[in-house]
Subunit: 349 residues, 4 copies
């Protein structure tokens, strides 16, 4: 079978994980990656002789404005220009800095290449605002998809999980947001919590993807780097008990139910656990969900989830490739293929 | 009029603020404070020649087990023993470390002295679990009262405020907890969020004080020192709009409505503001409530408050003295007297 | 005696403390303060009816570009323009944002008014780069002085202290820098140490003020808000023992020798202690110096100091007013007058 | 050739990395690991069907006091008891909690098994206090060795590097210590720097390993989790210029010279880089050394290094196995073998 040819624009926090994710899909080929500067991530790839996961070489293309001499000086091999890459692929994963994707789209259109944009772009850049589990079918055959952001992606996994089983009418979320990624020096917060104007965009985005649900919420930034925590107050169409919720969460391949008793005391425990698993970069594709956090309140079910912000959108982005290129036509088949190649859900009994 | 004679057991984070609070009440006399070791707080008092607010001298008494020679070596004057202090007062404010209050109670009983315990003690230590605004009348004339903890005190202020105006049926809270106070070295959290088993004790405590309300919630510890933030999802007996909620919050003397537009970006802004006001120790008695956080969700009203953990319980503890000693017999009179002497509510239009 | 008339440009972190410092000097008059926006600090002043320390009113003048309507809307009284203020004073303390001071200087020159600039301006803005203890006499009668920055001010206090007693040849410093002030949301660092290119500017600045000393050092930013810590490796012209160093440090009015045994475990202990002292804003004018940190290494003496970044430059800035206006002609008299009115050194035996 | 049979006591932060390190040595066999509780690290191993690096199975043995039923309940396979493990090996790597190693030693002696202890144990537990580069030969053929702690191990690498080339007389260090590891919830520090009594034990330990050098220093704890930073002021027997120092550092296999210009802004950059390299757990065996930090001060050379606290002692511990078991008799051969199997130094030109 002919493999889908994929390129990645922007080899940053998300881009390098997308590249790895694609490289793991046996029905896809990572044609190359594109970036503008020899960042630490690019330097690390070069130290590995441009070899990423599974011994696959990641060919580097330079976007317009890049200083090729600087790459040469560092002996970082360059394969060509961004347009050279675009010409070779079926679909681009655009993880360029927010706003750049809209400009890149002109190039994608020029060469008739499909593209998946990340959450930083405006919705208008895409035909569909996409989530692998919540609206896979809407993305099938479309040219331009935009992924939900990290918090929204993880949040929707859990809400969609309950919604399919029992029906959800409305949700109120509190997002306890990590303010920077490990290694970030361009943003930070020190000994302070910071509150955003309500409602948070994640609640608004959830309603765009799941228009039958009313959602609102408050976001508070916290000075940590490992994983957002979201508390969810969800009202079911029927009364959802703790047992009913837990049963569904435990069946979901991209939800990892954890407990305080096992030693999962917070977001940092999940990061530590992923490192100890030997996961590349200490990443985790699953959201964590604390069994001990689930409580009932009248008709509402309440729970807390952990969002591994660096890696959580990778599976749904791979799903998006499958939908856009019609590799699989249904949510069940599309997500199952992604899960298989990423090794998601293996630990489930 | 004869002043109520008050003693303070434990001159720590809470105790020194209680002592200041009492010293500001014109109908009370701070007889003395008691502690066991020459802590930094005691050393600071000694550097000021034992003079606290309003030029009032804070006489120091030593609890059993204290090493008086150590105080002498540091030239810290000692007035007598803990029992000497108890014998001189009408009522003790017990802010000893959690659990010690229960033992101190034996001494209070021996001398027929009333006492107010802080949140760290078990409810069984007291006749009434008390909150100045929510159940003042239950404390009137009682011998032993226990105050709600800092988060619960501030939370109840806001819930009681809405409940009296519109009726509240149930609340779901997310507590984003500061993990240590400024200067704490005996506890801390570094680059991690930590989750507790749900429901949080604050939700349970709220139900004890306000038994007609169903409450639950999740608590997450964060590595900051200035002010907890709590998000509240409250269901009214009637639909409560943002305007209806805001109107009540703005009338409450112990709630400070703030906005992002004014520069109140988070808990640290409120601490900075209190310092800039020239408040002693940079303390604030009011909880902050972000106007920008208030949103509606079906029948629920949602909002976020800031809890200045070091000082928030001081007013309600002074209220408790008033109730226990029958200085004032009603909630309105009792809290008004406390507010007057503490300067609370002056900034309200 | 006619009082020196002083204005303060910029009512930010430093400016408000300068205003308080001036208001405490019995031989000076705080004519007014100037700012551009109704910041939290200005709002706090307005909540206090524009009254600062000692019941003194702080008249507010608006710099060019300010939106007066916005101040009116908030009922913040405005006395006039920045130039109105400059016309009324003998000397301006310029704590405007870095770079603005150089532009303000044109206005000071226009009206023949002296000025003291803070550390953020370039040295070229001033006639003398000034430190109250190290080179007071160089500032006497000068029109434009620039203060050393917070770290340099505190560092020089300690080095000058040893230098005057024993002679210092060279120093190597490690600055463990707090990255933001309490309440700062415009800068921050999360779970990271950040290193600057060596040598640090503080070492270079020390050599400018004390040209007979060779200095270099490394600066590392840390995610905390209370107080820088600097370790100093100083080589004496003679062997300086721990006892010799300690003796001099203990005599210096602006150095507070503390110990771990007393409970001063780090920078946060000193902040807590200043709050417990009841110091306005929890500020401290003295640097802390840990007795337990002093060790000898061959000919070098090694020690660690704490720099309270928000308030440490206030005394030396007041010294600068005295020098520039010839209120006192010598270091001894000038610093003694400042210390008296700021209450510095009272705690020394 | 018969492989050296190795066991690891304690599968915690250090123990699991020791196990991986041994599994990578082609002349060693990892017989098994021992622990007491099903920690997150053990659970992660179990989720991987007890398979660690290179597809090698890590057999688990339980130390006395372990609750085997708890392991059974979790389906974690157990091979036997701690003594069963000890009986099968030539040498034990003891990374049990501090103090437990001394008790374990009785079992090692009972079965005539050699052991390498980590830095938490007292020096008296071992025949030699060991560092692979500084005193390899002292460990040759010995039964009980104790490794230097993480900071001391990395520090000595850099000092020994200069000492062998130019001779070092004395050093003064400032340790800017990370206070917890990622995922630690049992210790932490929040918005505070904490100072220890000088001299730091690392300076004292350096003198034990390198008795011809005079060393002292100050340690300050900081609220971060990724990598200590140490500034070193070293006095050479001859004047050491920046170029001379840099040349030697660049040749050392276990020192990675980095620069701010390349994007290595601090300790978190190195952690990020190790993750991006795809290193297991995001670990790095090399210390980082900032080229931009190297400055001269009279006869002293000054520089800053980064200590990856979780993994830095692994190579020197493997060296210790080689020395104790006489696999290699010299420093050059021993460290070269370790480096080869751990992939250290590959990136050097």
């Amino acid at each position: 079978m002919r493999k889908i040819k994929v390129g990645v624009a922007g080899y940053g926090t998300i881009g390098q994980r997308l590249a790895d994710g694609v490289a793991l899909q046996e029905d896809m080929e990572l044609v190359g990656i594109a970036d503008m500067v020899p960042s630490l991530s690019v330097q690390a790839l070069a130290e590995n002789d441009m070899v990423g996961v599974n011994g696959i070489k990641y060919n580097l293309y330079l976007v317009e404005g890049a200083d090729k001499a600087e790459f040469d000086r560092r002996n970082i091999p360059v394969e060509g220009t961004f347009e050279d890459l675009v010409k070779k692929v079926d679909i681009m994963l655009d993880s360029a800095p927010a706003g750049v994707g809209a400009k890149n789209k002109e190039i994608y259109e020029k060469y008739g290449v499909k593209a998946i944009f990340q959450g930083g772009e405006k919705n208008s850049v895409a035909d569909v605002f996409f989530h692998g589990y919540a609206n896979y079918e809407k993305g099938v055959g479309k040219d331009y998809l935009k992924l939900t952001s990290c918090n929204t992606t993880g949040l929707i996994r859990s809400v969609d999980c309950l919604d399919r089983a029992y029906g959800i009418e409305k949700v109120v979320i509190t997002i306890i947001r990590r303010v920077a990624d490990p290694g970030d020096y361009h943003r930070g917060l020190t000994n302070a919590l910071q509150i955003d104007k309500a409602p948070s965009h994640q609640a608004v985005d959830l309603m765009t993807i799941m228009p039958h649900i009313d959602a609102t919420g408050i976001l508070v930034h916290t000075p940590v780097t490992h994983g957002h925590i979201i508390t969810v107050v969800a009202k079911g169409k029927q009364k959802i008990t703790k047992e009913m919720a837990l049963r569904e969460f435990q069946k979901h391949p991209r939800i990892r139910v954890v407990s305080l008793a096992d030693g999962f005391k917070g977001n940092a425990s999940l990061f530590k656990y992923a490192r100890d698993l030997g996961n590349r970069r200490g990443d985790m594709y699953e959201i964590g969900l604390w069994e001990d956090s689930i409580v009932e309140s009248g008709d509402d079910i309440v729970y807390a989830i952990n969002i591994p912000q660096e890696s959580v959108t990778i599976p749904e982005t791979i799903d998006a490739i499958r939908a856009a290129t019609k590799l699989q036509l249904t949510r069940e088949e599309g997500t199952a293929a992604t899960n298989k190649y990423l090794g998601i859900g293996k630990f489930k009994k």
